[in-house]
């Protein structure tokens, strides 16, 4: 994705511009709060307090963040290869099937530390396979990956609904979900880490998947910037022509990138399924895949940025729940608007403020924007 704009210093490019975009998104969201007849500043205070004020709040924030780290990384890996994986949602949803099979088979016999690795493999494999078909069609048949992954989201939803109201549902139950997992498929909580700092936690679903998410963020960084494969992916993302000229196989790179992306999306399912609900229920992903798009864009496709952006969105989700409680006029759907605004301003309109900032930088120090210093005095 080349930009027809001149360069800025790295800290402005990766720090200042995202912050300005984020700020504008929140100002616009503030106007929506005004329109509803509430005080935006008070809403912001409730939101932040709800997310970080108490130990339970922090644990919930990190629990949501875990989910978004996975989906954000998933979108980012594909994006580095120039592919827009809008199918993270469906890949995560269908991965629930892989987790269900592992957990329902082994939860009575194996301890969690054996079930967990099996479930990770199953989730990643199913997610990767669900991304394989769109990837293959893009690479071999030239079908647009955005459209095929959208279609696969709907197909995944249909399959999961069919399975959860039919074969996977216990005969005696009415609810469209699998039976509850036994102790062998329940992941240990991590709340004690927050309690070490003296905060009290009532019950919060933060679990070991959070650590897995951080490991994955590190591995993605390693993959993208420290391996040959990552280099090839970035090359293809920048210029498919250059990649082809350099002898990089188009088919191989598209399919590999999409399968990694799908695998990361699939792992997202571990967090709510094994860490929190202990069953696979209809619509358990509930839009987290799409949040991943916002997270990846905000984090500028870098794992560190993605972890920070995921925590921000975790804060919005947790704080938003508190907000809905305190201000009845504002339901949790407010987050959906904020999410949309972040995608709009940090994604589609990312260059809107760039020329102004560039002009500003140029007036202070021309060198910083890559211009030759103007010769002679008084210029």
């Amino acid at each position: 994705m080349s930009t027809p704009y001149a360069k800025l210093p790295a800290w402005a490019d990766y720090g200042l511009i995202p912050l300005i975009n984020l700020f504008v998104a929140f100002v616009v969201a503030g106007f929506v709060v005004l329109l509803v007849g509430e005080n935006p500043l008070r809403a912001a205070v409730i939101l932040v307090e709800g997310a970080f004020g108490k130990g339970t709040g922090i644990a919930f924030t990190l629990f949501y963040a875990t989910t978004f780290i996975f989906t954000g990384l998933s979108v980012a890996v594909a994006a580095h290869c120039g592919l827009f994986n809008i199918g993270t949602e469906g890949q995560a949803y269908i991965a629930g099937l892989g987790i269900a099979i592992v957990c329902l088979s082994f939860d009575s016999t194996l301890p969690w530390w054996l079930t967990f690795p099996l479930a990770i493999i199953a989730a990643a494999a199913v997610g990767a396979l669900w991304a394989l078909i769109p990837a293959y069609l893009q690479a071999k048949r030239g079908s647009h990956i955005v459209i095929t992954t959208i279609m696969f989201n709907f197909i995944a939803a249909s399959i999961m609904v069919y399975l959860l109201v039919g074969p996977l549902k216990p005969a005696a139950s009415q609810a469209p979900q699998t039976r509850n997992f036994l102790a062998g498929a329940e992941l240990p909580k991590l709340n004690w880490i927050i309690e070490l700092f003296g905060a009290k936690i009532r019950s919060a679903p933060l679990n070991v998947t959070f650590l897995l998410a951080l490991v994955m963020a590190f591995l993605v960084w390693l993959l993208i910037w420290r391996t040959k494969l990552g280099y090839e992916m970035r090359t293809y993302g920048h210029s498919p022509k250059a990649a082809r000229y350099a002898g990089i196989s188009e088919t191989r790179i598209i399919i590999t990138a999409m399968m990694i992306s799908g695998g990361l999306a699939g792992m997202m399912a571990l967090n709510p399924v094994m860490g929190d609900q202990h069953n696979v229920a209809i619509d358990f992903v509930s839009g987290a895949g799409f949040v991943g798009i916002a997270v990846a864009l905000m984090g500028r496709l870098h794992p560190v940025g993605i972890v920070l952006a995921a925590i921000l969105f975790g804060m919005l989700y947790q704080g938003g729940a508190e907000l809905a409680f305190e201000m009845p006029a504002i339901s949790r759907d407010m987050i959906v608007i904020i999410q949309g605004l972040v995608i709009l301003f940090a994604g589609a309109l990312e260059h809107m403020f760039r020329p102004y900032i560039q002009a500003l930088f140029a007036s202070f120090s021309p060198r910083s924007v890559g211009m030759e210093a103007v010769k002679g005095k008084g210029a």
């Binding site: 827009f84 079908s143 249909s158 987050i335 959906v336 949309g340």
Partner: protein, 323 residues
């Protein structure tokens, strides 16, 4: 005669269900033919549906509702244009953003203004578009075969249904028989050539997006003011994406678009009608399979197994004027 009646009824609901798809599909046709990908059809339909139902119930006028639906939907199309034409942003990202903003704001504003859990008040007679009985429908109702076809299938729809089907030849005429249409198609294939001819690429694309906004607005109004007597949250339920699928299925051609939407509408109608009852030969088909069929068919088409879908060449690429 029972079978005949069942067929007539299924086809009748096929028409009703395919109208929003058709309007949204034609909407997408204008923007994609001009080289702007539009994932945001879903969101624009949703804000149209909300604005239509809200305005109709506040001002007690169906036509004011329709006007408001179009206005708001066009405004959202302009946001898409501002991001993807003026600021050369990623068109898919912008479309995704619009879908989220639409989904969230309709619920929040609906709850704040009407306090009915995100719904708008149920529309009263006069606030929604009523069914129109075509002349002579009652007179020939009892004539075998032709009577039911005319009275049940063709007559008794709202004005928006007839409008939607009239938009098909109209769109064809605009795209293939007017100067505007020629330029619009050209800007989707080779914007540099259009620019060389001294025509503004940006303004042309903006106009295409205005057409898109008008049609998605009508599609939304149809959902909330004809099919349903009021707005319900997330009432588009993926129809914008099915319309997108239909557009690809139709290979970006208006008449094909109508048949694609009728096919997808028929699948929907059939899955409602068949719920639970077995088909001859195949046996019982899960409802979920019927619901997924439009998507599966589109993927198969995209894979190149049923002809080849070739999108407008400049689609999705922001135009950068050479300096």
């Amino acid at each position: 005669m029972d079978v005949f009646n069942a067929i007539i009824q299924t086809l009748d609901s096929t028409i009703r269900l395919s109208v929003p798809l058709l309007l949204a599909c034609l909407a997408g046709l204008y923007s994609e033919r001009a080289g702007i990908f539009d994932i945001g059809l879903e969101g624009k339909m949703l804000v149209g549906a909300f604005a239509g139902a809200a305005a109709a119930s506040v001002f007690h006028s169906a036509f004011l509702g329709l006007g408001m639906a179009i206005l708001i939907s066009v405004a959202f199309a302009m946001i898409h244009g501002f991001a993807s034409i003026t600021h050369r942003g990623n068109q898919i990202v912008s479309g995704v953003a619009i879908n989220f903003i639409a989904a969230g704001s309709t619920i929040i504003l609906g709850q704040a203004w009407f306090q009915q859990g995100g719904r708008t008040p149920a529309l009263q007679p006069g606030e929604r578009f009523e069914a129109i009985t075509l002349p002579g429908a009652e007179a020939i109702r009892d004539v075998p075969i032709i009577g039911p076809i005319y009275a049940e299938l063709l007559s008794g729809h709202s004005i928006l249904v007839y409008l939607a089907f009239l938009m098909v030849p109209f769109t064809w005429w605009v795209l293939f028989r007017t100067r505007f249409g020629l330029r619009l198609r050209a800007v989707g294939e080779n914007p540099a050539a259009v620019d060389t001819a001294g025509i503004s690429v940006a303004w042309l694309r903006y106009r295409a997006l205005i057409c898109t906004g008008i049609l998605t607005g009508i599609a939304g109004a149809y959902l909330s003011m004809v099919q349903n007597g009021g707005f319900v949250k997330d009432m588009t339920a993926g129809k914008g994406y099915i319309a997108l699928a239909a557009l690809i299925f139709a290979k970006w051609k208006p008449v094909n678009a109508m048949f694609a939407c009728l096919l997808f509408g028929f699948l929907d109608a059939a899955s409602i009608r068949l719920q639970g009852s077995p088909l001859p030969i195949i046996g019982k088909v899960p409802a979920q399979f019927m619901q997924a069929l439009p998507y599966i068919l589109t993927v198969i088409l995209l894979a190149g197994f049923i002809g080849k879908a070739i999108p407008p060449r400049a689609g999705g690429v922001p135009y950068v004027k050479e300096r």
